[in-house]
């Protein structure tokens, strides 16, 4: 229940009409009730919660310093000292995977939050004002969309140079278009709604309409877009790091681990299998949870 407390409307009438025992459920409470029934989504949510804990407590959880090299122990299989073996510098693979979670999750979440900020602004502007603004934004979106994702991300990384913060920007630039499109479409629909007309009929100005009606009604879409965008961003980060355009050494990232491990694939297969599995677990969790969230929040979105 706490999860959605952020979205509760602060109720202005609650004290004025002190009526005990009235059960009222907000849209989000209702959605959460639906979500709770979805076992798979809840399992994934707990996996993600676990991941978040790992991210926060990485220094305490990881058995070793992820960057501490012990060249003598390089490329060892699992042992008591190194649960999952070591990489080519004798660094503990487990610790690096744990620290890699930080990169993956932060890349996923921050890039999507950025993308959403851009996408929602653009989408609302284009959808609400229409006309020239819409044409301009739509053309820009077309240009952005005419690049295949990976090529586009690579291009930006070349311009910005490698590094985590640049990945945030690249992936945000990559994914804002889909958010903007969806939001634009939704705003176009919402704009036609009679409650918006009612607001105009009451004298509401554009800003009031956007803030009171359009954005709040897009929030479920936004949440869904963020949740379902994260796995994509994580995959893209992995792909970029795999191509050597990702994080800077010695930072651990799953994609760069797989890339590095490719040379030792038959020597210690675990080295490439494990970060891959880590990606799969996180991505699957986000996907299933995102699906569940979508079903709970807005079943109509399924096709998009």
């Amino acid at each position: 229940m706490k999860f959605f407390s952020f979205f509760y409307r602060k109720n202005k009438y609650i004290e004025d009409v002190a009526e005990q025992g009235i059960e009222y459920t907000s849209y989000y409470q209702d959605s959460f009730r639906r979500l709770k029934k979805n076992n798979a989504a809840m399992i994934c949510l707990s996996v993600l919660a676990l991941m978040v804990l790992i991210v926060i407590f990485a220094p305490w959880i990881s058995p070793q310093d992820p960057n501490a090299q012990s060249l003598k122990d390089a490329l060892r299989g699992p042992s008591a000292q190194y649960f999952l073996g070591t990489d080519e510098y004798g660094r503990d693979i487990l610790s690096r995977i744990i620290y890699g979670t930080r990169i993956s999750l932060s890349v996923g979440i921050i890039s999507q939050v950025l993308a959403t900020a851009i996408g929602v602004t653009m989408g609302v502007l284009a959808g609400y004002y229409g006309g020239y603004i819409d044409s301009l934004i739509s053309r820009v979106m077309e240009i952005f969309a005419a690049f295949p994702e990976l090529i586009f991300a690579m291009g930006i990384m070349y311009v910005l140079g490698p590094g985590v913060s640049n990945i945030f920007i690249a992936l945000a630039l990559l994914s804002w278009v889909s958010t903007a499109r969806l939001i634009r479409g939704q705003v176009l629909q919402l704009k036609q709604k009679e409650y918006v007309e009612a607001c105009i009929a009451s004298g509401g100005a554009s800003f009031q309409i956007i803030v009171r009606h359009l954005v709040p009604n897009c929030i479920s879409t936004i949440i869904i877009m963020v949740t379902l965008g994260i796995p994509g961003a994580i995959m893209s980060e992995a792909a970029l790091s795999f191509l050597g355009l990702g994080v800077q050494p010695p930072t651990a990232s799953w994609g760069s681990m797989i890339s590095a491990a490719q040379s030792y694939i038959s020597l210690i297969p675990l080295y490439s299998v494990l970060p891959g599995l880590a990606i799969i677990i996180v991505v699957i969790s986000f996907n299933i949870f995102g699906d569940g969230l979508r079903d709970a929040l807005d079943p109509k979105l399924k096709n998009q």
């Binding site: 690049f147 990976l150 311009v159 796995p231 795999f242 799969i280």
Partner: protein, 309 residues
């Protein structure tokens, strides 16, 4: 209909000009000079100047851009700074390789995806459905390059069944195609399922049943065709992404396709090649989108008869 195509083409030209302009600007912002790469360790200023003059990169930027656009209109994208090969022929070579790979992966993804999606939709709520969708979400969640590596280890190395790299015999296509196609197959299966389930709820499906149409025909004749629109939309973007995503697979399987060309040209700042590759990929992307839009018309008479245009 014709007007619609003409309108789309106009938009396309606009997008392409935007793309080349953006690419041109970007490559001139990116640090790194192709001439210095070409001359490697022995680059002294005179030499650099000389080569620049040869390549024409000492001209003012607007002139360079206009030259490029002029050439592009005449289907002449210039020659690679490095290999001296005409960019067009390099692209064609790379494209043929990647297109074959992507086409096979696409076919794999479409057949597997649509049939699994249909099956899941027909068996909705049953174990088959859950199982297929579990597989699908697994397939969607695994990075393709990782799948490629795993396939390589299992089928190429441990079982020694299939070739590991290159594309010089038909068997070579199997592993890269699967690695490339898996993700797309999974997402196609998912969208097919949801789209089918959506369509099945429609009134006209009930009408068909009320007419006494066989259940199998209800799915194949009445539902699938209507369900195709979101599927086709997805297929369009997927095919484009497949062409781009193949660069990871190309890396793993040592295939010299368009993806490798894109990466190499970027690392060398081989401007004509970068421009060419980007333009080429964008053109393909745009063409695919055009085909997708036109295929809507094939599927949906509303668009064919101009009402929606």
């Amino acid at each position: 209909m014709l007007l619609y195509i003409a309108k789309r083409l106009c938009q396309t030209v606009f997008v392409l000009v935007g793309i080349t302009f953006a690419t041109f600007c970007l490559i001139n912002i990116v640090p790194g000079d192709p001439v210095q790469v070409m001359l490697e360790k022995r680059a002294d200023p005179e030499m650099i100047q000389q080569v620049r003059h040869e390549l024409g990169t000492d001209k003012p930027l607007p002139e360079q851009y206009i030259n490029f656009v002029e050439g592009a209109v005449k289907f002449d994208l210039g020659k690679s700074y490095f290999s001296k090969e005409p960019v067009m022929s390099m692209l064609l070579r790379g494209f043929l390789v990647t297109a074959k790979l992507a086409a096979i992966s696409f076919l794999f993804a479409v057949t597997i995806g649509i049939s699994c999606g249909m099956l899941a939709a027909i068996k909705r709520g049953k174990p088959t459905d859950s199982f297929l969708m579990m597989i699908a979400i697994l397939g969607m969640s695994a990075p393709s390059f990782w799948i490629a590596i795993i396939l390589q280890i299992i089928f190429g190395l441990k079982l020694n069944l299939l070739p590991l790299s290159g594309l010089d015999q038909p068997l070579c296509y199997i592993l890269p195609s699967i690695a490339l196609g898996t993700r797309y197959a999974a997402s196609i299966a998912r969208i097919t399922r949801t789209s089918m389930l959506d369509v099945i709820k429609q009134d006209y499906i009930r009408t068909a049943r009320a007419k006494g149409v066989k259940e199998s025909m209800v799915f194949i004749k009445h539902a699938l065709k209507n369900a195709l629109i979101p599927i086709v939309t997805l297929l369009g973007t997927q095919l484009g992404n497949m062409l781009a995503g193949s660069m990871l697979i190309e890396k793993v399987f040592s295939i010299s396709g368009i993806g490798k060309l894109a990466v190499d040209s970027m690392t060398n700042r081989d401007l004509p090649l970068v421009q060419g590759t980007v333009l080429y990929i964008a053109v393909i992307f745009v063409v695919i989108n055009l085909i997708v839009d036109l295929s809507y018309a094939l599927i949906d008479p509303k668009i064919r008869y101009g009402k929606g245009a």
